[in-house]
């Protein structure tokens, strides 16, 4: 590096003359900069870069083979020869995973139907992605902090969120930890290390990086895990989070649920590169593509990713390929933008069925147990909903608390609360009958 010192008043010509002189002096030494392999290189603040005489562009629209997808069973659930399975799931965990996935399926179906019946305003299912969420959750530790998008109720279910808690949140009653403030499916549980869902996409990714930074500062062995869809990966926050996590070297595992659709936008219209996994190397992040419908593959990939993140304190990216079997949400009818043939073919590759096949192949599960479990689970979900519907809604007095931390309201909120109470006194019909004014 040569510092060029400029005199007070230097004309353009004298600058160029001076620079010319310098360049002629150093041109000989530049020629000899060689890293030993016979290639020249330039030493830059961003690192050493080799030189070439070829005018060649890299990249461009996708051509040639795409990055391969790691899987251990085929689409029916039969194990595939030669697959690398460092952690073969044992009986206990396999049954637990399977039951969680089946509960998730039942819960999703019944909650969806309840919304259709007008019992609450909104729901979205994770049909087709049960293996992605439950399989990955099983590979995490309870102290790992999860930042989810909105389709990861399987993770919460695995961690122990009860059917009652799910129902309470959906009904927005006073037992909901969120105190009825968030719309349905926006769960949050500090106890289970699952951050409250926020609707705008990908905003949770920088949060996950910040939380990972906090873990690093504290010397913890936990990681943060950020779930997001392939559509959300287009958001600016996603790109920022990848770059920050890699540059600042924090233990964050990014799990992308590439389920083929972002509402009606197919993945082919979401990006031009090779999906999300190909972005990893661009940011300096280790990345892998996995069959999101294969529980063992998800479990092993995420377990491996987690170990890498902890051991070398850096982010890792997992792209789980799957298919969103259900509609985007209760506000969507996906038959408007995809064929029933496509949907039917993917139902035939249902991840719950695939895993059930594998578990039954090990002789750990039977049709009889399946039937019994389905009946019981359905009963449990319906009971949880009935109970939740009876619980009073969060009270009016909770409307103004928690805007700020601490017991005191600022004067403007006190005033607005007083006005609200006055309005309710004058027109009691404004308030639903199952909504108390003050918390009991």
């Amino acid at each position: 590096m040569y510092l060029i010192r400029l005199k007070e008043s230097l004309s353009c010509q004298s600058i160029s003359t001076y620079a010319w002189g310098c360049l002629r002096q150093i041109s000989t030494s530049l020629k000899t900069q060689d890293d030993g392999s016979g290639t020249n290189y330039i030493d830059l603040p961003g690192g050493k870069v080799p030189l070439t005489g070829n005018l060649t562009f890299i990249g461009g629209p996708l051509q040639g083979p795409r990055i391969a997808t790691y899987r251990t069973v085929d689409m029916t659930g039969r194990p595939v020869d030669g697959a690398h399975v460092p952690n073969n799931l044992d009986r206990e965990i396999s049954i637990k995973i399977y039951k969680t996935m089946a509960t998730l399926q039942t819960m999703d179906t019944l909650f969806y139907e309840a919304q259709r019946q007008g019992r609450f305003s909104f729901y979205l299912t994770s049909q087709g992605e049960e293996a992605t969420t439950v399989g990955s959750a099983a590979a995490l530790h309870p102290e790992d902090i999860v930042f989810a998008q909105y389709r990861e109720q399987g993770v919460l279910l695995w961690r122990g969120y009860t059917l009652a808690q799910f129902s309470n949140q959906l009904f927005g009653n006073n037992k909901d930890p969120g105190k009825g403030r968030q719309m349905p499916i926006h769960y949050g549980s500090k106890e289970l290390n699952y951050h409250t869902i926020s609707s705008p996409l990908a905003t949770q990714l920088p949060h996950a990086v910040g939380a990972a930074y906090a873990l690093k500062l504290s010397g913890s062995n936990a990681v943060t895990v950020a779930y997001f869809g392939e559509g959300a990966a287009s958001e600016g926050d996603a790109h920022a989070a990848f770059n920050f996590a890699a540059t600042l070297e924090v233990p964050c595992v990014f799990i992308c649920r590439n389920n083929g659709y972002a509402i009606s936008t197919p993945a082919s219209e979401q990006y031009r590169g090779d999906g999300i996994v190909a972005r990893g190397p661009m940011y300096g992040i280790s990345a892998i593509r996995v069959d999101g419908g294969d529980v063992r593959a998800m479990y092993n990939a995420v377990r491996e990713a987690r170990q890498m993140a902890v051991a070398s304190c850096r982010p890792v990216l997992v792209e789980a390929m799957s298919y969103r079997s259900g509609h985007h949400s209760t506000s969507d009818d996906s038959s408007r933008y995809r064929t029933t043939d496509e949907m039917r073919s993917w139902r035939a590759r249902d991840p719950v069925a695939r895993f059930r096949y594998w578990v039954q192949l090990q002789d750990w599960w039977s049709d009889k147990e399946e039937q019994a479990m389905r009946v019981t689970t359905r009963q449990q979900v319906l009971e949880a909903m009935e109970e939740a519907a009876k619980v009073p809604k969060a009270s009016v007095s909770e409307m103004f608390t928690d805007v700020y931390s601490g017991p005191h309201l600022p004067w403007n909120l006190e005033e607005q609360y007083a006005n609200t109470l006055k309005a309710l006194e004058e027109s009691p019909e404004l308030k639903p009958s199952d909504m108390p004014i003050v918390s009991q």
């Binding site: 030493d43 603040p45 902090i145 930042f147 909901d176 930890p177 969120g178 105190k179 403030r181 968030q182 926006h186 949050g188 549980s189 500090k190 951050h195 409250t196 926020s198 609707s199 705008p200 905003t203 990714l205 920088p206 949060h207 996950a208 990086v209 910040g210 939380a211 990972a212 930074y213 906090a214 873990l215 690093k216 500062l217 010397g219 913890s220 062995n221 943060t224 600016g236 926050d237 920022a240 989070a241 770059n243 920050f244 540059t247 600042l248 070297e249 233990p251 902890v310 070398s312 304190c313 850096r314 608390t401 928690d402 805007v403 700020y404 931390s405 601490g406 600022p410 004067w411 403007n412």
Partner: protein, 366 residues
């Protein structure tokens, strides 16, 4: 000289090794001293505030662009990385929404981040994280997650930096539920307020002014804190209540000197807390003088004055003898040219003229 970075290949428990820096060797070492009985500049006072709080509490950290080795665009974090390391005074890549989100995630995980916008105006890029997440998450999580962040940076007009570097964001941020807005103005209150902001459980947006960093004054010691919700009485008076904040405090006081000569006796109150307003102090003053002028640097439309004027109108209507007058910046992008920039913001002569108009003519002192 190459900037060398040693990544931590060991487990996360080891901190990042410090970088060699050409810049730090040129500046020499800066010893971190407690506030002594000499006058210091505002940037030093802010720096002391951060240093003292970081020393007391290991969860306090700083993040932003060029806050570490460079020491911040106005030196507010100068040299702190040497004492606290590269991790606690964290230089981030360039993405305001990225590091704002990062600060929020860290806050929800138990840290107390101070997030610096290199210029306040750039924080418009972080608006989504500030409003949807920082402001809202405590509420939407049912109180499970707190976001004790301090969002600070230089803003305001006066260095001929052009439109994008002369933003006043208080008007944009004031509607966000869940955040508090604080504007410092003196060396003393800048330090005491920043310390309180760092200790607060709520997210605080802390407004500093580019032209005030080099003003000199006395700062309090390590145990001096100041209420984030209280206004400051700058000059007691009887004729008119002038509510102002940040650099406009000095513009108003300059006008006050002129007004004193003409026989006027204005009361000047520095709002300090832009959200929520200190209605106790404000209403006490209005009831006394019965006349209000608001002098602000933000734009007229939707500014702090617009909100305050509405509140005063609603709650103190019968205590007023004159409509509330607002002196604000023009609703134009701030031009680079000196005269145009000066014409965009409120000048002392306008304050004098407004007081004369509102109070009426004073009898000559003869």
């Amino acid at each position: 000289m190459l900037l060398q970075r040693h990544g931590s290949s060991a487990k996360c428990m080891s901190s990042r090794h410090s970088r060699q820096s050409l810049m730090s060797s040129r500046r020499g070492s800066l010893s971190v001293t407690r506030s002594q009985k000499k006058q210091i500049m505002m940037w030093e006072a802010l720096r002391e505030a951060i240093d003292e709080e970081m020393e007391k509490d290991p969860t306090v950290c700083v993040m932003g662009e060029d806050v570490g080795h460079y020491g911040g665009s106005y030196k507010v974090t100068f040299g702190l990385y040497k004492k606290y390391g590269d991790m606690r005074v964290l230089d981030t890549p360039i993405c305001e929404n990225g590091f704002m989100g990062m600060g929020i995630g860290a806050a929800m995980t138990g840290l107390r981040p101070i997030v610096e916008g290199m210029n306040m105006g750039f924080l418009l890029l972080a608006f989504n994280q500030i409003s949807n997440n920082c402001g809202m998450l405590h509420y939407t999580s049912g109180g499970q997650y707190k976001t004790p962040v301090v969002i600070r940076g230089p803003g305001g007009v006066g260095r001929q930096l052009g439109a994008e570097h002369s933003q006043r964001l208080e008007s944009y941020f004031q509607s966000i539920p869940g955040v508090q807005l604080v504007a410092c103005s003196t060396v003393a209150n800048s330090k005491a307020l920043l310390k309180s902001a760092i200790r607060s459980e709520n997210p605080i947006i802390f407004f500093e002014h580019v032209l005030l960093y080099n003003i000199k004054g006395d700062a309090g010691g390590p145990d001096v804190y100041q209420s984030l919700e209280s206004a400051e009485l700058v000059r007691e008076g009887t004729d008119v209540s002038i509510f102002t904040y940040s650099r406009m405090r000095y513009v108003v006081m300059q006008a006050a000197q002129e007004l004193e000569k003409k026989g006027y006796n204005p009361e000047v109150i520095d709002l300090i807390s832009l959200k929520p307003f200190d209605m106790d102090t404000i209403s006490k003053s209005v009831r006394k003088t019965r006349r209000v002028i608001i002098v602000e640097e933000c734009m007229k439309t939707g500014g702090i004055g617009a909100s305050l004027s509405a509140v005063i109108n609603e709650s103190l209507f019968n205590d007023l003898d004159h409509e509330v007058v607002r002196l604000s910046s023009q609703d134009v992008p701030t031009a680079y040219a000196y005269e145009l920039e000066a014409a965009t913001i409120v000048q002392p002569s306008q304050v004098v003229e407004a007081v004369e108009r509102v109070v009426g003519s004073k009898l000559a002192y003869v």
